[in-house]
Symmetry: C2
Subunit: 297 residues, 2 copies
């Protein structure tokens, strides 16, 4: 980031690099089975902020990896994230019609195609991770990180399941934090850690970046909870108020809006502190952390 580039511009620039690589890694829309590949592209190329890929790239570059080494993992984590959104939006799950301002995958392509498109993106992410030019040991470590972070025991699917199990129930703050840590935090923390792994970092630097990612991951979800309460459909690109309508456990519901803001800011401060002694590009990682909360105010 040059001295005059804002963090918004930086993230937009990285998103456009990531989009270019995703376009190359996704099967062409005209290749069999076309309808499925169109659906995969429709959902992946719908234009998210690419926060997780940006974390892989920025963390890895901070510890000396080059962009080309990092890009396949950056794209793979976005495929995993997108698959989870597609399945989360299904009628049997959150039953959402709108995502990133457009009809959800099952609304555009039908439920069967949406289920398969999610399955195919998850599968493709591991094919991509297994087929990079990194040495095999590092490829294996990256696959371990992402599969655990996306999995049922400590990761994303576990958080989604707990979210469903607790719908309509009054949950404690600690249960809510666990759901958030698993559902959103795990992939974000793994993104930062994987950058370090690809850079061949020492374990303590990898763990420092993981700690940074855990904090901004939780701050990110708190910000999402706040946005769900305070935004319009147009601002959000998806249906707002869904959490409340579904009686989902959220930070604002337990702590109120102001205390939720304060908790998010505190996590960001901790994240900023955690990376302060790392190598290069520290200020970028710190700016990304601040950006996570800034989008809510």
């Amino acid at each position: 980031m040059s001295s005059t580039e804002t963090i918004t511009n930086y993230l937009a620039r990285r998103a456009s690099e990531v989009n270019e690589s995703l376009d190359k890694l996704l099967p062409p829309a005209e290749v069999h089975p076309q309808q499925l590949h169109r659906a995969m592209r429709y959902s992946v190329m719908a234009g998210g902020k690419r926060i997780r890929p940006a974390l892989v790239l920025t963390s890895g570059e901070a510890l000396g990896a080059n962009t080309a080494e990092l890009m396949p993992a950056a794209c793979a984590i976005e495929m995993i994230h997108t698959y989870s959104l597609i399945h989360d939006d299904l009628p049997a799950m959150d039953n959402d019609d709108l995502r990133r301002g457009r009809p959800t995958c099952h609304k555009a392509f039908g439920e069967a195609v949406a289920i398969l498109a999610g399955d195919a993106l998850l599968t493709l992410s591991f094919e991509v991770l297994a087929s990079t030019t990194l040495n095999a040991d590092r490829r294996i470590r990256v696959i371990q990180e992402f599969s655990v972070a996306a999995g049922s025991k400590y990761g994303m699917i576990g958080g989604q399941m707990a979210d469903i199990e607790n719908e309509g129930k009054t949950v404690s703050a600690s249960v809510l934090e666990r759901i958030h840590r698993e559902k959103t935090g795990a992939l974000i923390a793994a993104s930062a850690a994987v950058g370090a792994i690809i850079a061949g970092a020492q374990d303590d630097d990898t763990e420092r970046l993981r700690g940074y990612g855990q904090r901004i991951g939780l701050a990110f979800q708190i910000a999402d909870d706040i946005l769900d309460v305070t935004s319009t459909s147009e601002q959000l690109g998806k249906t707002p108020g869904k959490d409340q309508a579904a009686n989902k456990a959220t930070y604002p519901a337990i702590y109120g809006i102001q205390a939720s803001h304060a908790r998010a800011r505190q996590l960001v401060d901790e994240a900023v502190e955690t990376v302060s002694t790392l190598g290069r590009n520290v200020s970028l990682l710190q700016e990304i952390a601040r950006f996570i909360v800034a989008r809510t105010s």
Copy 2:
């Protein structure tokens, strides 16, 4: 297989070894999130024939690998197979109520849990493959094999999608063969090839086992098509006649029952011939090939 052991006994014995390992690799049912882990176990431990794991074990042992090295990959391919069945049975897909003689996963646990249980099994399979004691290069090759075989371009998901796209249409024999090759054949062929990879086989032996797997994979699907027409619900453990009811492309529909039997037998003969010059346990691989067709008569 001792001289007096039948192939049915051999497969039952390997299935019981595989079940023991699956039980260890699956998250315990009492670990959070319990409902999800119960659903994963319900579907995986429903007692399939474990043909794919048997192929990994028998192929690998024929080329000198030991059982312990092969077992994680044998279990991983069964997790991938089971995830595909769970998602295939969903109301938006085949809408099946019965699988292996019991209610399907979504009938027993609800649709949301079934979607997540499938996702979690696919994710866990890659975690298991990344965490074996094999050297990292072989682990990577196994992950590549299974991710491509389960994927959209040349693999299982592509075949499922083509199957859906062609429902109610009259398809040519070549389109039908492609659907079968992808939907069922790819995982079976990869199972045989992965055994060879784990054994550190020369490329020509790996490709010979892949060719063997491709042939029995296609024969297996033809046998399944025949069983769907000729069996009762009790014999099949799932609802028969579903293919016909859904206007699915099948071998009996295009060729008739007799010609379908003949084609399956021809493929088995080719498979038996393909492995005839391999190392140890050739007769086991040949017996497995014959068993594939025998179950239809």
